[in-house]
Symmetry: C2
């Protein structure tokens, strides 16, 4: 065994003091968000009714490479960061691979995932602006929990719209959020105009992130002193999540490790965008090369089967248009268990990078993901979230390829969180009742039919 510890922890004084903004180094910038009525790029003024001001500035800034992390946020980060960079010695041994596998583990906090990195930033700026509270949606519940924690810490009100299927599958998530003082509503609900409309059109729907976003935005814009916050997709979120990649790179540099392949699961792109940030920066600047693989569920294949087009971020079509890989806001995925990966679209930044060939994408099926999760849990001692397990599956596949070829590649993947609140999914896997779902081309056609007409900008 080499001289690299099982877990590399940075010291507190080695923690990043600024976030890194990938867009600053992109030659082709991601397209701006468009006003759905005028088809013109959304101005800061238009955005400021939805988001708080500093976040609007971060959302629009595609030239500043490093944005300082306020001291208050860095202090909060110290409660659960640095997160460990783990060398998967036990997994390597079990696979019999010459590959060296590392994972950045973001699950060691009560929200159970990396979501807290952006939640505290967004809550901090809302508080700084003197707002009363924030609204949001949550799928698997990790984002909602993270936001509840951040709001409890800062004394902000927090209203969470939780995708109904997750609300029902994960009653305990609701209680964590309540313990942190948040109000939690199953979405679609009868509390909002858009919720009532969706329920009238689809009475039996188990909801979607797109629906929940519509409800949360409606509540934010109709209640004074409230703004909407979002756990993924947006540029600001990828910016905050860059702390994952910056810590990872600092830890790797310390030990002279250079990854050949970087793997992350991708729903809206927050984890993947954060993990790859400084590595992609080097790649964009031509300083280094890395293979980067986005892993998505075969049941919701935005990258691998979606279209690169302007689309609504929400089902209710009240949000701005974003140019991204999308299945169409009308696509309602099967209620599979990777709740956090069921968004119809994808971060505009990652979409542009994918479009320009800077990253690859792979879609994997649910049962194969849980099989990998179980194997990982038994040897590495961590019960992974279903979302994270998508990355585990592909990391194991790549490590097994190295076993065939004899290549000693260094594989890095993001272990975004724990599966403690996903035991219903594990139960169905344990019972052998879990099924795979791959949408047919006809299923996808329904989603694509919901795409808006191509705006003039394009």
């Amino acid at each position: 065994m080499e001289n690299i510890p099982y877990k590399i922890y940075l010291a507190e004084n080695e923690l990043p003091t600024a976030w890194y903004n990938m867009r600053a180094d992109m030659k082709t910038k991601p397209a701006p968000l468009l006003n759905p009525g005028t088809h013109k790029p959304l101005t800061a003024e238009e955005m400021s009714g939805i988001f708080c001001e500093e976040l609007v500035a971060q959302e629009l800034d595609d030239t500043t490479a490093f944005i300082p992390i306020p001291q208050e946020i860095r202090d909060f980060y110290k409660m659960y960061r640095p997160s460990p960079l783990v060398r998967a010695y036990c997994l390597e041994k079990q696979l019999g691979t010459p590959a060296k596998i590392y994972y950045k583990f973001e699950g060691n906090n009560t929200s159970g995932s990396h979501k807290l990195n952006s939640a505290i930033a967004q809550a901090y700026y809302a508080k700084k602006q003197g707002l009363k509270g924030v609204t949001t949606e949550t799928g698997a519940g990790q984002w909602g929990t993270a936001l509840s924690m951040a709001c409890a810490y800062l004394g902000l009100d927090c209203k969470v719209y939780m995708v109904k299927v997750s609300y029902e599958q994960k009653p305990f998530r609701r209680e964590v959020m309540r313990t942190y003082g948040a109000s939690v509503t199953a979405s679609p609900s009868m509390e909002t105009e858009v919720g009532r409309k969706i329920l009238a059109e689809h009475p039996g729907t188990t909801g979607s992130l797109g629906c929940a976003i519509s409800e949360a935005v409606e509540v934010a814009v109709t209640n004074p002193g409230y703004r909407y916050v979002l756990g993924s997709v947006l540029n600001q979120v990828l910016l905050h999540q860059s702390v994952i990649g910056l810590e990872t790179k600092a830890a790797m540099d310390k030990y002279g490790i250079k990854p050949d392949i970087i793997i992350g699961c991708a729903g809206g792109g927050s984890n993947l965008g954060g993990l790859i940030a400084p590595f992609m920066g080097e790649k964009l600047r031509g300083e280094a090369d890395y293979r980067v693989i986005a892993v998505e569920p075969a049941s919701c294949p935005s990258f691998t089967r979606g279209k690169f087009a302007f689309d609504f971020c929400d089902t209710g079509k009240i949000c701005p248009l974003a140019r991204m890989y999308t299945l169409g806001s009308g696509f309602i995925p099967a209620p599979n268990h990777a709740g956090g990966l069921r968004f119809h679209g994808m971060s505009t930044t990652l979409s542009q990078l994918y479009h320009d060939g800077y990253l690859e994408a792979r879609a994997v099926e649910q049962t194969s993901v849980f099989k990998a999760a179980e194997q990982f849990a038994r040897v590495e001692g961590i019960l992974p979230a279903p979302e994270s397990s998508h990355a585990i599956k592909v990391a194991m596949d790549e490590a097994l390829k190295c076993k065939e070829t004899g290549e000693e590649k260094t594989i890095l993947f993001g272990l975004t969180g724990t599966g403690y609140f996903d035991l219903k999914a594990y139960e169905s896997y344990n019972d052998g009742t879990m099924t795979d779902y791959i949408p047919t081309d006809e299923d996808l056609a329904v989603g694509f039919a919901s795409l808006p007409p191509v705006p003039e900008y394009d």
Copy 2:
């Protein structure tokens, strides 16, 4: 803010290489386990039908101060250790106390608690002896989960008898254990003779740790190739758990910190015995002094209202007699939520130390514990287990006393685990339906009536 980080992590090469055995430094040794038939001290031979051989040796050894940790166990420890020693800056600030509060956080592993420290040791020695598998009981489920993880890692069969009330309150715990390949049975069950007998006598019982122990022991002694393992109470468990205290002391020494008060929750005593070990060693040898406080639930007050007497460790009265603070093996506690603290007895080592005045004890009520837990969660960002929250409650009480007196005491407590699988309990607290239960003297009399006649040894 001082120069002490939020979290102190030891490096891997600073991890303990030997466990510390407090008994070696005790002038009055804890009484030996007695054969319930002959009332003679249990011999190694008698024990070896229940426990594996090396564990028997550890159980009986009250003279060797340091016992080396085998390399395989140290490698496993590296998967989740060192655990952080956290400076509770945020809690101190919120309480407005001049006290300095530290906690050793053992919840950053999938079992969710410190139990894994002994589970891997016990599973390792069972494997080394060539056994097929192990049986055990579990209350809150933390021990069962820990043992399942250790057995999965080593390829041992694992049969868990889970106290019925926890089995029903915590279905997700069962799924974690199943994911790690264990079989889980609600106790009392119809699978064992003792289970059938208990069910015949108490048809509606929600079970107890004492019942579940009886069942697990019966299965171990009647199935060739199986032994019984236990997550608390025993000397061997306290020995393995000393890794908690050794790490804590090493981290504190590194920064020149000396605790004035050390606080831990106490069910069977595994966490408290482990946390205090090296500190108590100094106290026993007269090298230093520390106030040590054991915290137990008012609903199951072994230390504060129990008797120091020889008693059975199990309800079925098939286990050896141990001299300990006990409520009587016939005491069946109310089904409150601190599942891991509902054992009728207490570690013989801690019992002797308490009897000899080396530690204090305090009983606290459930709702006050959850109030402290909620406050802690909101400022420190960790959702604590109900068991651990007993220690939080008393640490906060002591910190508030310092606020009154202006004393800058250093308070150390053990945060044994997370409450992710205790959300039903949090739900009842959030809903305001949680109640307190304090047994009357008449309730206790029922338990005391079950005490066996005083054996000749005494």
